[in-house]
Each structure stands twice: as C-alpha cells, then as structure tokens.
Amino acid sequence: MAFKIRTGYEGDLGLFKTPQSIASYAALLLILCAAPFLVGSYFLSQIVFVLIYTIVGIGLVLLSGYAGQTSIGHAAFLAIGAYIAANAAKFGVPIYIYLPAAGLLTGLVGWLVGLPALRLHGIYLAIATFAFALIVEEILARWETVTHGNEGLMVKPAALFGKPLGEWGLYYLCILVTVFVVVIAVNVIRSPTGRAFLALRDSETAARSMGVDSARYKTFAFALSAGMTGLAGVLYAHKLSFISPEMFTLALSIEFVMIIIIGGIASLRGAALGAVFMIMVDPLLVLVKDKLPVAIGALTGSAAAQDKASVLLATPGVKSLIFGLIIIFFIIYEPMGLDGRWMKMKTWFRQFPFYRPATFRRQKMYLKSERGR
C-alpha cells in the first residue's frame, strides 16, 4: 500500500490527490491528443460524442450527485447552447466569444430554472424540470424566425480567425472544453461551495443551521450545471452541423441521467465512464441486431427462427427496453455505478488477500428526521 506523506494542509488541496494520478491523467490526455493520428474518423467522432456527454455528465454529477437536485430537462440546456451557437455562427460572431457567451447565457437560464427548485424536492422537482424541457422544445418549434422551427437549422462549421477548424480542430476544441469543465468541477468540489452543495444534499436543515444559504446554493448548482451543458451544446451543434427540435427531447434528457446512474452518481470519473458506456451502447446494439439473428439461425438451423429473431430485434422500442433493463441492473446491483466497480477493484488489489466485501456494503439508517422541511 502506498501512503502519502503530508507536511502541510496545502497538500490536501491540490488538483490531484497523488503524484501517480498526475502521471495517469497526463498519460490519458496524451493519448487523447494523439488519437487523431491513430484512429479513423469514425472513432474520432465517437470520442467527440464521448467528450460532449462527459461535459453534460459532469454538469449533472455536480447538480444531482453533489447538490442533490434532480433534473430531467438537461436536453433543453443543451438545445439552448446549440441554438445560440448556430445563430451566433450565422452572424459571423467568432467562436471565442459565443462559446463562453453560450455557457454564461445557459447558466443564466439554469439559474432561473433553479428558482422553483427552492420549493420542490425529489420527484416534483424532476417534473418541474421536465416541464421546462417541454416548454423549450415548444419554443424551438414555434419561434421560427430564430430557430427555423421543425425544419431545423444548418450550423456553420466552427471557425477560428476565419479558418474552419475542421474535424481535428473541433476534436481538440472538445478536449480543451472538457479539461476546462473538469478543472472547474474539481475546484468547486474542493472549495466551500462544493461543501455547501453536499451539505444541502445530505441534510438541508443542518446545512441551514450551519449558515449555508440554501436558496443561493441550489440556484447556483443549477446555473453551474446548465452552464456546462450549454458549453456542450455549442460543441454538439458544431459536431452535428444540423440541429432541429426533435433532437432535444425527453429521450436525450434520460440518456444524460443514465450517464450518471451508470457511471456513478457522485463521481466525476463516473461521468466519463458513463459517457463512454452510453456512446458504446448504440454501436453494440447495432452489432447485436445484425449478428444475433444469424447466430440463432446457425444454432437452430432454421431460417424461420432467424427471421423471427431479426424481426423481434428490429421492433421499435427494443432500444428503450434494453436501456431500461440496464438502469434497473445498475440500481440493484451496482448503485455506485462503474466508478464504484472501479473503486472496488482497486481496493481488492490494494488489500489483496485481505479484501472484505463488507467494506462497501451500504448501511441503512432510519434516524434521519424529515422535520423542518
């Protein structure tokens, strides 16, 4: 086992926990930066989507995992960022202006959405954010002068100083924004703001008695989360180069929530792992759809069974069914998500012959009072 020798309180405040983690994150960044030289354009665009989902995931981790507020309306924040980018690019605003501006404006909208959060808890808050998402979807469809309605909107390619960024440029921009968002998230978590978030999550009554202004921090959590999602929206718009209202529906919001459920609800690493998982699911499903009926046909030796299987797998809704099953699986068997699994594996190796499964067992306590809510 490795121990870190600490000589001052500053040591616990660093961006990285240990020198080893500096090395491993540097290696990861290096690999990501080298990726365009190593992989084809299909994989590159998959990585771009992973990065975009990671940014949204981190926003949601801060909001749901740390501040304890639910949202199933994050697709709307993504949409706002995307439409700001599309319109700004149309009028020739440079990207170094509209990228931060989209983040700030979406953050402002998030702050407004956070206001009802002051009075709502849990499922009711989820419904309120869902209502907000529906409103945004409706506005996108109706406000045709700006959004072109259901026809959709072409997005000019991202350009810097008049030169188009191209596929590689956009990829590096995504890495840059992701690193920025991660650093901001780590900063929030290690600062008084992050502690105020988790205080509100675990006991609002106690948090207020400690002097934490719940209204301020809840709205701030929403603003921060929305702002990050807005940044992701800009990248999303440029990646897809065409946006329309039906891309930002409830289904997308649910996918975002799935990122953090699968990855691990209160973990930044989990957001990245969840994003990788969510992006990988689609190609995997396609693979299953193509190969499974053939395998069944080969195994049973009947063409009828093969046809039946392929018809069954092609039924609309199979994807939702599989997503639902995955969520249920994770909630029951690994509530800490992929990150929790990773931590358990690490602990197993670290304590090798002495690992006790009970280390991570959840304790149930029934002492929490709901009074004062």
Binding site: Y9, N187, R190, T193, S203, T205, R208, S209, M210, V212
Partner: protein, 252 residues
C-alpha cells in the same frame, strides 16, 4: 444589556400550543438546561431559537438584537450553533468535510473565486483546516478524520455533531439531548466535554437533556417544561424536588 433572552415566546401548530408564553434569560457563560417529559416542547423551543420555526408570538433576543426576524441561515453567523436530537450529519461526507461545513460562515470567497480556486480560496481553506484540526484535537476525533459518517458508530457521530457545532466558532451552543443513545462511559465523557467547552472555551450552553445525573452534574440552572409551559426554574436540586415536576414525571 440582555445577553440571551426569550420573551413570552409561543408557537401554535393548528390548535396545539407547543410552546406557550415561555420567558427566560440566560447569562453569558452559563450552562442552562431544559428538561421535561416527552412532547413538552423542548426541541420545538430549540427549533424556534435556531429559526427553523417561526414564532407565533413573543420574541427572542441575543445580544440586544431581536433574532426572531432573522433567517435560519443567519443564525450561525450570529454565533449560535446547535446539534440535533436525531443527528443531522452529512452522511456521505467525511468527518473532516462535516466539520469544514461548520466553517461556512467564516468563508468570504465568492462563487467565481471558488470556481477558479484562486490563491485567496486556498489561503482560506488552510485557515479553515487549522481551525477544524483544533476542534478535532479537542474532541479526539483525529482517527476518524477521513471516515465517512455512514461508517461511524452512533456514539462517535454524536461527538462529531458537537464538533461540527464547535467549528462554527459559536458563542452560544444549543445541545439537543447530547447523551441520548450513549452508554454510561460515553455519557460521562460527554459531560466532561460539556464542562470543558463551557469553562475552557467560554461558550454559553443551552441544553435539552433527560439524563438527570448529567443534568445535575453540569447545569448552573435548570428549567422544567410541560405542555409548552414553564413549570419550574432553579438549580437542578430545586427543580427536581418541585412538586409540579415530580407530578409531571411520575403522574399525579
């Protein structure tokens, strides 16, 4: 000058008067204990002081300021800290983080300064950490520093909650049943800490407590409450032998 006083404080939930015209004052440096049977309104009284409930009548004064008009989150800033009967710690955070939340009222950094973790934030964090480590030394919590609350035994959680309240750097400490759920040994240690917090740190203590041996050991004055009304005030002995109190506890 009034240090800490309740003047004719009442709260009504529907037709129930949980606290009914309670007046008392607490001198600086005193240990003042409130006793009473279950449902007497003791915790409600604490919730009124820490502004989780609104009074329906009367006022609460701390250092000549009427605190009845403040928000719950402003109370800590005035130097009034509290613990909870049923332990309201932040379960999925470490002991260190819990105590650091207590330092919240001392942090002066803005959101955007936190976002970029400017040198000012770092300087303040180190100062907070120092203050919290002192509290941990005082309550001997060092060995639990990085343990999550969810993994701690009940007795230790009780102490952590006192520690979190102390991290606020309070002038007045409200302890809601500090000994409930503790064994004999832990209770006697808690009594020593209460005395030490009072004598060494000079903190005024308001306490709700059922364990009469603890009450008579530490309290300067005791107030007995029943059905939201004051039955008796005085020293522990006086209150314990007061006929109304005896009747309330044993049944007339």
């Amino acid at each position: 000058m009034t240090y800490f006083a309740l003047d004719n404080v009442s709260i009504q939930f529907g037709g129930l008067k949980a606290v009914d015209g309670v007046s008392f004052d607490v001198a600086k440096g005193e240990i003042f204990t409130i006793i009473g049977p279950n449902g007497a309104g003791k915790t409600t009284l604490f919730n009124l002081i820490s502004r989780l409930y609104n009074v329906t009548g009367g006022k609460i004064v701390f250092k000549d300021e009427e605190i009845t008009q403040l928000n719950a989150q402003q109370i800590a800033g005035r130097g009034i800290a509290r613990t909870f009967q049923n332990i309201e710690l932040f379960d999925n955070a470490s002991v260190l983080q819990n105590l650091l939340v207590g330092r919240h009222r001392h942090s002066t950094t803005k959101f955007w300064e936190d976002l970029f973790f400017l040198p000012k934030v770092q300087r303040e964090e180190v100062a907070h950490r120092q203050a919290v480590e002192e509290v941990m030394d005082f309550l001997r919590l060092q060995r639990y520093r990085d343990t999550l609350i969810a993994g701690l035994p009940y007795g230790v959680r009780k102490v952590v909650e006192v520690g979190r309240a102390l991290s606020i750097g309070p002038e007045v400490l409200l302890l809601d049943e500090p000994s409930s759920g503790l064994n004999v040994e832990e209770t006697s240690r808690m009594a020593e800490w209460i005395l030490e917090i009072n004598r060494r740190l000079g903190i005024t203590i308001l306490m709700v407590e059922h364990d009469m041996s603890l009450v008579s050991r530490v309290s300067d004055r005791v107030l007995a409450l029943n059905y939201g009304r004051i039955m008796a005030t005085g020293t522990a002995q006086e209150v314990q032998s007061h006929p109304d109190v005896v009747a309330a506890y044993l049944g007339a």
